[in-house]
């Protein structure tokens, strides 16, 4: 009878806790023992006679900052009075969340703003806490077309220094012997300048945070020569650097402050090969592979973390065609390509065959792939 009365619609929705309180009150009133409760239910409720308080939940932060990218997860923690926290994202297209007890890990998916929601259910009551979630993304693009140029100032504040370092604002593979202004490389190198462009999303992130560029390099180059009899090809290691040595260079050539209003930042490189001192015979080759990692770091809550990264691979092949002493006329560029890709640091017989052609045997020296 009393259960029917208490749960009737006339009194509105009635929780389990309220029913238990009413039962206890009635038992005390008439001197009856309370009914046995199932163990699982009993654990959810305060002991009989204890003061009843609503569950509480607070989050470790009012705003979560996370970048799009697998290494940029963020964490949030809930402090609760009791019970189990259930985590969710208001707009699940922006981020994913995985909870483990009172802590959740958030992974950015798409830039923008949404909310992290923590829901606590205890003793039949449910409470919710939310935090703002800002998902940041720095889109990295490669500009390297043969008809493209360095982004001019004021959008790219380092354009003058970059043009001066190369002697040109052209991007992509340049004519043999051009592309470096620093001695002894000027007139003696084979260069292919590029511009890596980072665009910050959403707009709010471009003005709130500080960014930093970083470039890492892993490279190897080889000489591909004829043997003394002129019947075989011999491949030897020429030089190497890395793996993953810092190659960021002077800040005069990388601008990590997002432009206004475009929210873009720029990092320039005029990478290539110095052929001046090479003593190869006519018909022999230099082959060079460079694997660059371009990273954008962001300072979030006082800590630097990687926000975005790409690999840019450069492959250079040049053939000696004369011995006049002038690189521009002594060498022919076969390849000087750059692309968003990862290049491996090994040289193989098929790879060499693609360069030298013909059918003469190829000997790859034991130390060519250290």
């Amino acid at each position: 009878m009393r259960r029917q009365e208490l749960s009737s619609n006339a009194f509105g929705p009635v929780s389990v806790r309220e029913r238990r309180q009413a039962d206890a009150f009635f038992a005390d009133l008439i001197g009856a023992r309370p009914r046995h409760l199932a163990a699982s239910t009993a654990l959810e409720d305060a002991p009989t006679g204890a003061p009843v308080t609503a569950p509480t939940i607070t989050l470790s932060t009012s705003e979560v900052l996370v970048c799009v990218g697998g290494v940029n997860n963020a964490a949030i923690t809930a402090t609760t009075s009791a019970g189990v926290v259930s985590w969710s994202i208001d707009d699940p297209t922006r981020a994913s969340i995985s909870g483990s007890g009172n802590t959740a890990t958030i992974r950015g998916r798409h830039p923008g703003v949404t909310k992290v929601k923590a829901t606590l259910t205890s003793g039949g009551a449910t409470v919710t806490a939310t935090a703002r979630l800002l998902v940041i993304f720095v889109q990295l693009l490669l500009r390297n077309g043969t008809t493209e140029t360095i982004e001019p100032a004021p959008e790219n504040e380092d354009e003058a220094a970059e043009r001066a370092a190369a002697g040109t604002n052209q991007l992509g593979p340049l004519a043999m012997g051009t592309g470096r202004a620093d001695a002894p490389f000027a007139t003696a190198s084979y260069i292919s300048p590029i511009l890596v462009i980072g665009r910050v999303f959403p707009a709010e992130a471009a003005t709130r945070f500080t960014f930093r560029w970083q470039r890492l390099i892993t490279r190897r180059s080889w000489r591909i020569r004829r043997n003394a009899a002129g019947t075989r090809w011999s491949v030897t290691l020429r030089n190497q650097r890395g793996p993953l040595d810092d190659d960021t260079g002077d800040p005069d050539f990388n601008d990590a402050t997002p432009s206004t209003p475009g929210r873009r930042m720029y990092m320039y490189d005029n990478s290539g090969d110095f052929l001046g001192p090479e003593t190869l015979a006519v018909g022999e080759f230099i082959h060079h592979k460079k694997d660059f990692v371009y990273r954008v770091w962001i300072r979030l809550n006082g800590v630097w973390s990687i926000c975005s990264a790409i690999h840019v691979g450069q492959v250079i092949t040049a053939r000696r065609t004369a011995t006049s002493g002038t690189v521009a006329t002594d060498w022919t560029g076969i390849e000087n390509s750059t692309a968003i890709r990862r290049v491996n640091m090994t040289i193989t017989e098929p790879g060499v065959r693609a360069i030298v052609g013909g059918s003469d045997p190829i000997d790859v020296a034991a130390g060519a792939n250290p």
Partner: protein
């Protein structure tokens, strides 16, 4: 090299060793980042390891060192290393008895004191990678 940018403590935290070395052979050059040279295979005779022994195994003998030297713009140019000169090398060990230096400063008692002070103040090298043990 870029030691204008990198403070001593940061250089320690981004490398595996600080050593004192004497330049024997200047190495080969190739195009580095804009306005900079890659110097490879510079031969250094290591005279002293400043990194505390409990942090990394000491380095001895002759090693091949790579580093980057900024030459343009001239206002930011790094000085050329002198054959026979003694230098403090903030470097990371690489396979094959090679080091890559992030920061190089001319040797002086004052420079050695600054490094010792940084270690005493809690500076620590990056976690040792698979190639960190060079000696």
């Amino acid at each position: 090299m870029d030691d204008r940018q990198i403070r001593t403590r940061d250089a320690i935290e981004r490398t595996t060793h600080v050593v004192v070395g004497r330049l024997i052979e200047p190495g080969t050059i190739s195009p580095g980042p804009p306005g900079a040279h890659h110097i490879d295979e510079a031969k250094f005779r290591i005279e002293q390891t400043l990194t505390p022994r409990d942090m990394a195994a000491p380095i001895s003998g002759t090693v091949a060192l790579s580093y980057t030297r900024q030459v343009l713009p001239k206002a930011h140019a790094d000085p050329e290393l002198q054959r026979g000169g003694r230098y403090l090398l903030f470097a990371t060990a690489k396979p094959g008895r090679r080091l890559h230096a992030l920061k190089i400063v001319a040797h002086s008692e004052e420079a050695v004191r600054v490094v010792a002070s940084a270690f005493a103040g809690g500076a620590r090298h990056a976690a040792e990678g698979p190639h960190a043990r060079l000696a």
